[in-house]
Symmetry: C2
Subunit: 412 residues, 2 copies
């Protein structure tokens, strides 16, 4: 069974909103063996929308449409669908009930705009929406299916989980399996070379390289008729790849570096604290994105000023004057300072020049020192991470957490 | 002049990577009056790619292709383009020079995989890449244009800025103008109602509603023949909208809440510090994403444990025992504690239950108190922000910064 995703909205076409919905839908369909073969984005225009729906409905088994179901004037999906399926809008008591329930929970009042949400195409089955006022719609015609959902991500996501995935799970006959290995600290081309003969490593498994500022992800994929055969082949390919590049692999699937260090810290029953200058809370935010992080994350300090480095971390004034705040010495003092002052097992720190201004010939934009301290050692490493402020923060955080990960692996 | 964007890569189709490139390209083209009418995503398959390129090249003036130019086996764009334009691959000395220069700067070595990057289609003009090894390609045939760029975002972005935008600026004859007003603290439907008669407000200007967990953005758009006329009409529409909803508008265009408070803090020469519990550094990270934030952001404290709340913020032990760490009292004590201990003008704080576990009947998941303290007052507000950990952090941070913004507007 194959699928085409049609996302609707001028906000996507002019690039104001990034299309995260298509990616989410795809991931969900993939888990039940439905192949997304095309994603198309078009604007809020009736004629264009109608011809795109027509084309997709004829070409693939399942067409998923998102967007244009809201309560405002620029939402025209229901109208186009009524035309296409030759049906009319009717008032749904079921939807009215759901909306009333939602408004009560949120302490909101019924509005005229909300009223239009209760109108649905007569021939459609309703997909209930527990997170917003616009219901989803399901059409079926000669074993071709069309699903329309709101464009608001978490509303659409709940409908995918509660309705679409369970419904189509039974209709799909193929088994698609993916496995992703997340690497960091090595370039894409060098990684490719280290792997060597891919045919030998992979057999029937497909491999893709997905580079980003945080590292390169390796995605293994296979399409099979049985789950067992797919799993066996993917497992073999993963083993072959790990044999050559294991030291660079910090996690699998959507596991972040923060997930990986969280697992290690819990396993080894260690606690950690952070002292961030240039990353300004990025690292702590990553760490605390992980549910359960309060078990090992005691506190984080963001010392943007020199004064705060002295007061909160006991970095000596003379050190700051002699070496400057962006230096190996200060990074080490920050890491050991935060560790000893908090009584945690480990401290990590960052100090650098995030830009886009503030560089000098000796200390250029992008220069950063990452500090690490535990009971046995304190050290700092030097990196250059470029002059884009946000990318600099991301790369620095990833390198700091990776340094931590390597040290944790060596830890008793 | 119109354009179609073709993004290539199985990683997009299976939803592993979100298509940020298409949005970026669109935004850039929009500024020079080029209309993106369609975005299509397809996989790394030769036949599919060729027919998509064929279709797009015939249909629109400008086709932009990203992805599939890397050094690995799954990168087949150059091959497809050679077939389509009936040309062949040749070794480019110019590209070799660029690659050598890049490798030197990064302390990397030449590899066999890198070698394939130096092969380019003979009839293409080369778009130089200062950030990676794959050059971009520019084809022209009977006033139809095709541009192929790498899929790595910052490589593609630099090519857009340095080559594509300057080249096509002169070829475009229309003038497209957008203006976005960013609102928060009000639902989409209520906002729609507050605006009332849109025809009166907008005249020829188009309005779109873009909801997200951080708030709803209002986008005004117009297509005109002159810049002057477009600007005049957009300005009038903005004034009409502000007359009805100004209190909810915190910024324009891509201005974040952190940008807005940064501007206000500088203007009023005030400094700030943060004490975060449940947001775990999210707020400090937002604040320090703004270049120049070191002028007003002194330090941030992330107090995940009760001990750290006592030690770093002087929150009394009895208060924590009596009211619990998630309480109005503790939020206030944290905000005033961080302010007085750091000597900044303002302190803000968060304490809540981010989930997905840890809720109780009295203090359910999603409950959060946001504290604010300046020399004249200390207060805390209570919110409920749902049970999704990451969305909870985002909504809490946005509400905290919005509270700060409102207080700053009242500040002398």
């Amino acid at each position: 069974m194959n699928c085409s995703i049609l996302t609707i909205g001028d906000e996507l076409l002019i690039g104001q909103v990034v299309n995260t919905n298509a990616a989410y839908i795809s991931r969900q369909l993939n888990t039940i063996g439905i192949d997304v073969v095309r994603m198309v984005t078009i604007g809020d225009e009736e004629q264009v929308m109608r011809s795109a729906i027509q084309e997709s409905f004829a070409r693939v088994d399942l067409t998923i449409v998102t967007g244009g179901l809201g309560p405002t004037h620029d939402d025209i999906t229901k109208k186009v669908l009524c035309n296409f399926f030759q049906t009319e809008l009717v008032r749904s008591e079921e939807v009215i009930e759901d909306i009333n329930h939602l408004l009560q929970r949120r302490n909101l009042v019924w509005s005229a705009a909300t009223e239009t949400q209760a109108l649905v195409p007569k021939s459609a089955q309703i997909i209930r929406n527990n997170n917003g006022t616009a219901p989803g719609l399901f059409f079926e015609q000669n074993e071709h299916y069309l699903i329309a959902m709101p464009g608001v991500p978490f509303e659409m996501e709940a409908m995918m989980q509660d309705f679409v995935v369970p419904l189509f799970k039974s209709k799909s006959k193929k088994f698609i399996l993916h496995r992703t290995l997340n690497t960091t600290g090595i370039g894409e081309a060098v990684l490719f070379e280290k792997l060597g003969n891919l045919k030998e490593l992979l057999d029937n498994v497909k491999l893709a390289f997905l580079p980003s500022p945080s590292g390169t992800r390796l995605r293994l994929s296979i399409i099979e008729t049985t789950q067992e055969s797919a799993e066996r082949q993917i497992k073999q390919a993963e083993e072959n790849i790990r044999a050559k590049t294991d030291e660079y692999i910090y996690g699998v699937e959507n596991e972040t570096m923060a997930d990986a260090i969280g697992t290690l810290l819990k396993e080894k029953q260690l606690t950690i604290s952070t002292a961030e200058s240039c990353t300004g809370g990025y690292i702590a935010n990553q760490i605390t994105n992980v549910s359960g992080s309060s078990e090992y994350f005691e506190r984080g300090i963001i010392t943007y000023s020199n004064r705060s480095k002295m007061e909160l971390l006991d970095v000596p004034k003379e050190m700051l004057e002699q070496h400057g705040s962006v230096s190996k010495e200060v990074a080490e003092a920050m890491a050991s300072g935060v560790r000893t002052k908090t009584g945690t097992d480990i401290g990590i720190s960052t100090t650098g020049i995030a830009g886009p201004t503030g560089g000098t010939p000796e200390k250029p934009l992008g220069l950063v020192f990452i500090g690490y301290s535990d009971k046995k050692m304190t050290l700092a490493l030097k990196f250059h991470f470029g002059d884009n402020r946000l990318r600099f923060k991301e790369r620095t955080a990833q390198a700091a957490l990776n340094l931590l990960r390597k040290k944790l692996l060596q830890h008793d």
